[in-house]
């Protein structure tokens, strides 16, 4: 028995080792290196003066730094909530819809996944064109259906810009949630559904008593994926509102804040590599803590359900 286990472990090790090397060289070391830089200060790309936790103290005590940091974090939370709402709730109903048997449901399923295959930058630029106040098609459509007076400069108004950007991201990754949920719904034993129907259950009963409890673990996975994606999101901001998160930093997220502070020159909003690495480390902590919390929460839910 012991001999067999040993052999098994050795076998497993061989599988894990190559991935581990690649992971270490390309992920772990850069992350640790970046954390190291957050303790340094200096000009150029490689800061050389050790300053201890000074960068962190500066980030949270000097208004010029913390105002931007809290602003980006606040925006990011709003962004996450909007995206979660659209992708989770609407995605769920869409999945229920496409798993019903009707003509064309296969086609609908494929169609809903199509935007996910596009590049985020492409989606960003397309949305920007559609919403262009001068020649964009969206305003023209609103005018044509008589809603002309409600038109605002969608991406130029701090009240609407973040919402518009969130919708663009949700639109793109909507199909991903649909895919996850519909595969969950497909996994439900058809005989259970049939039994419910015979007992006179309508669609709402089915959703609340059968579908929702069985896809609850998937809600967790989708939420965690959205969380990671949203708190490291950069591309869509870069494409739609520039790396300053215009107008007036109202769409500045953690990703764009990090890019700007670490890589731009001081004149364009850079804070130097040391402070940039500090922002990156904070992002890492936020994502790690967030994912940990969400995992614990959904695991507890799962346990409650299986009891």
């Amino acid at each position: 028995m012991l001999q067999a286990q040993k052999k098994h472990a050795r076998f497993l090790f061989m599988f894990i080792f190559p991935a581990f090397i690649i992971y270490t060289v390309f992920m772990l070391l850069p992350i640790l290196n970046s954390m190291k830089y957050s303790l340094y200060s200096g000009d150029g790309l490689i800061p050389d003066t050790f300053v201890g936790l000074d960068n962190y103290v500066k980030l949270f005590t000097e208004e010029r730094y913390y105002s931007k940091f809290w602003n980006a974090l606040g925006n990011n939370i709003k962004f996450f909530l909007i995206v979660t709402f659209i992708q989770n709730i609407l995605g769920f109903f869409m999945a229920v819809f496409v798993t019903r048997s009707f003509k064309g449901n296969r086609f609908m399923r494929k169609l809903s996944f199509l935007p996910t295959t596009l590049s985020v930058l492409v989606v960003g630029f397309i949305f920007k064109l559609i919403l262009n106040p001068y020649y964009g098609v969206f305003d023209k459509v609103l005018e044509a259906v008589g809603l002309g007076e409600h038109i605002i400069p969608w991406l130029g108004d701090p009240r609407s810009a973040l919402i518009v950007v969130s919708i663009a991201v949700s639109w793109q990754f909507f199909g991903e949630s649909v895919l996850f949920y519909s595969s969950g719904i497909d996994g439900i034993d058809e005989s259970i559904m049939e039994a419910a129907r015979i007992d006179g259950a309508n669609i709402w009963h089915e959703i609340i008593h059968i579908i929702l409890p069985s896809v609850l673990p998937i809600v967790g996975i989708v939420t965690i994926l959205i969380f990671i994606g949203d708190f490291t999101q950069f591309d869509i901001i870069y494409a739609m509102t520039g790396f300053r998160g215009d107008p007036g930093y109202s769409t500045d997220l953690m990703g764009s804040l990090f890019y700007r502070t670490a890589f731009a020159t001081t004149e364009r909003g850079g804070w130097g590599t040391g402070m940039g690495a500090t922002v990156a480390t904070m992002m890492f902590l936020i994502v790690t803590l967030g994912v940990g919390t969400l995992l614990a929460f959904f695991n507890k839910k799962k346990e409650e359900m299986t009891k």
């Binding site: 050795r10 090790f13 061989m14 080792f17 190559p18 090397i21 060289v25 000009d43 150029g44 790309l45 490689i46 010029r64 730094y65 920007k128 919403l131 262009n132 106040p133 001068y134 020649y135 305003d139 038109i151 605002i152 400069p153 969608w154 991406l155 130029g156 108004d157 701090p158 520039g242 790396f243 300053r244 215009d246 107008p247 007036g248 930093y249 890589f263 731009a264 020159t265 001081t266 004149e267 364009r268 909003g269 850079g270 804070w271």
Partner: protein, 424 residues
């Protein structure tokens, strides 16, 4: 166990081979083919590849053993890329440098040649331009290569339709705007989505005549006056006066859209920079485009002309071909290069002493104002943008907020002054 050892060894060998191949690939890029020496030239102007290649071909004609490889990087990525490549020891030989602090930061990484002894002719260049790429002790690290001006472009056909003359004063300017608006034209192609335009072109260009140009800029930098002083607020109020003439939903119009609106003849005027001549040329109908300098506060004033120091050319200290690089450096500082450059890139003005003929009408018009003006640069570019948050960002943000009716002109100035506290 033997198998494990073997597989580890194979992995390591593969990894090593991979890194070595990668490293040699990097080095190969800077050595030329045959006995020719290749020098790599980098800049943030990706749109200039063909033009720079034509200019450099002239150099290679005279120096057949040296080939210049122009490899620009997208503007927004340029600074990060440059820093990275210099730190990794694979930086280009010839490097476009931004003026003042950005360029100085690169110099401080100890990767640029000092030019005072190498290029004695620099002392004949305009001293203000030389200072934009020199240490406080006046050690030069770049040749001042290109300056840009800011003013107002207009469509000649639209002006003719309303019998309008080119305005010289602000009052005349406002009258022109009023006439155009009454006629139902889109007066300006201006939008406020990209706020750098608001500061770099509008406030620095058109505001200079109101805040007092170069003298006021120097006083601001020397901490003798503040941004909340009356003259700076006045310039801000003048910017606000333009708002009624912006197109509908201007808050959502970005820089490229502005250029398209004006370049396709859909607006009468566009406040822009001289670097845009090429863009309007590409959009067609350049003969219909005219230009006038920022309107004066009142008749008889001297024009405060924002002639901004845009690009300098520095040289990599760690080049593999120092002798060839020096030959090219001499040529870049010659009037021959300056003439070629201005022919190829109208709207960029060389600082190299000499007499030149400009072949582009718009560029000629832009330059015609120089003789009777006081040159200045963008308001808070020097020193006031060397810390965080930079003056450059703050003024842009303040004007953007002012046009969004979040701040009054006075509050906008206070917004800038308050956040510049790191400087005082």
């Amino acid at each position: 166990m033997e198998l494990v050892k073997k597989s580890i060894l194979t992995m390591l060998v593969l990894l090593l081979a991979g890194t070595m191949a990668f490293a040699s690939g990097q080095q190969g890029s800077s050595t030329g083919d045959g006995d020719k020496v290749k020098l790599v030239f980098t800049s943030w102007r990706t749109e200039d590849i063909e033009r720079m290649n034509r200019i450099n071909a002239e150099f290679t004609k005279e120096n057949p053993n040296i080939v210049i490889d122009f490899q620009p990087v997208k503007d927004t990525e340029y600074d990060a890329q440059l820093k990275q490549s210099l730190a990794a020891g694979v930086g280009a030989d010839i490097i476009f440098l931004r003026s003042y602090d950005s360029g100085y930061q690169i110099y401080k990484t100890d990767s640029l040649m000092e030019l005072n002894d190498l290029l004695p002719e620099l002392k004949d260049f305009p001293s203000a331009a030389v200072a934009a790429w020199a240490t406080p002790e006046m050690t030069s690290y770049a040749i001042p290569a290109a300056g840009v001006v800011h003013g107002v472009y207009y469509r000649k056909s639209i002006f003719e339709k309303y019998n309008l003359d080119v305005p010289a004063t602000w009052d005349e300017f406002m009258a022109v705007c009023e006439t155009l608006k009454a006629g139902g034209e889109t007066v300006f192609a201006q939008g406020t989505k990209d706020n750098w335009m608001l500061y770099e072109v509008m406030y620095s260009g058109l505001g200079a005549n109101f805040y007092g140009g170069e003298e006021a800029r120097q006083a601001l930098m020397n901490k003798e006056v503040r941004f909340t002083d009356d003259n700076f607020v006045l310039a801000m109020e003048k910017m606000k006066e333009l708002q009624p003439y912006f197109p509908e939903r201007f808050e959502g119009i970005d820089y490229v859209t502005m250029q398209e609106i004006f370049g396709t003849g859909n607006a009468a005027m566009f406040m822009g920079g001289s670097w845009e001549i090429g863009i309007f040329e590409d959009l067609g109908g350049l003969e219909d485009v005219g230009y006038f300098a920022p309107p004066l506060a009142k008749k008889g004033d001297t024009l405060q002309y924002c002639f901004h120091v845009d690009a300098g050319i520095g040289f990599n200290k760690n080049t593999k071909h120092p002798e060839e690089l020096k030959t090219y450096m001499k040529w870049l500082a010659s009037s021959e290069y300056a003439q070629l450059y201005m022919n190829e890139l109208p709207g960029f003005f060389s600082y190299t002493p000499g007499s030149y003929t400009l072949n582009n009408d718009l560029a000629k018009q832009m330059q015609s104002y120089v003789a009777e003006s006081v040159p200045t640069v963008r308001t808070v570019w020097e020193k006031l943008s060397a810390g965080s948050p930079s003056g450059n960002e703050l003024v842009g943000e303040a004007i953007q907020k002012m046009y969004a009716n979040e701040l009054t002109p006075e509050e906008a100035c206070k917004f800038v002054n308050d956040q510049l506290s790191w400087y005082y």
